[in-house]
Point group: C2
Chain length 129, copies 2
């Protein structure tokens, strides 16, 4: 089981790789057989190819991630973090309030990611000028 | 599946019941066959009696819960929230930085709670006077 420090560093790397728009680096944080459920309640993306395609699309939106509170570890192989997805859309500036939960393998790679957010977590900050 | 609003209201009720030190009211938010894993990686408490006993003990510590960011829902039967557990211990004031994930049944009761926090999420704020 990876240490709390290893898990938290991987979560922080996820934020950092996303914010420098590097989908390959995000995909490299995942194990080959990892799954992504984003949002929770939607069909799983499964395996490195689907995960990489998902982040290529996500990063292309220009979205940026900002931690809302310090990253949490656990006494198991999981960690969690609350953050805001900052979006600059044709309809104005908006945020999506998200909590991601990751599980890890022995090598400190993500084996799963689940993103908790619903329609009520999308907040319009500023209408278009 | 309960609405996002119903799930978020139950999460907020959990915080409020905890802060008025009412373990029976917390237990009433749970389904009869619910499980609690707090922290993630520790043995499950299972069923209303074990869940009620856990909160009786937790509330007796005098701990208070403070949301660190708005409660998140999902597109499924789950919600999540980041909060700080505020503790006034003989060793000084401390917080535990936690993320709770709950699943829900059709009646809007918690069927499971998982609390993500590790040793590295315990922060000493002030040593004893």
């Amino acid at each position: 089981m990876p240490s709390e420090q290893v898990m938290k560093a991987a979560m922080q790397a996820y934020i950092d790789c996303f914010n420098r728009a590097d989908p390959e680096a995000i995909a490299a944080l995942y194990a080959d057989d990892a799954t992504v459920e984003d949002p929770v309640g939607s069909p799983l993306k499964s395996g490195k190819a689907e995960v990489a395609a998902f982040y290529k699309m996500a990063v292309a939106t220009g979205a940026k991630l900002k931690l809302a509170a310090p990253i949490r570890a656990s006494h198991g192989n999981s960690a969690a973090m609350a953050f805001d997805v900052q979006l600059n859309m044709p309809t104005g500036e908006a945020i999506i309030q998200v909590i991601d939960v990751m599980t890890f393998n022995e090598d400190g790679k993500f084996t799963s990611m689940r993103a908790f957010w619903g329609k009520s977590d999308m907040v319009l900050l500023k209408p278009p000028a």
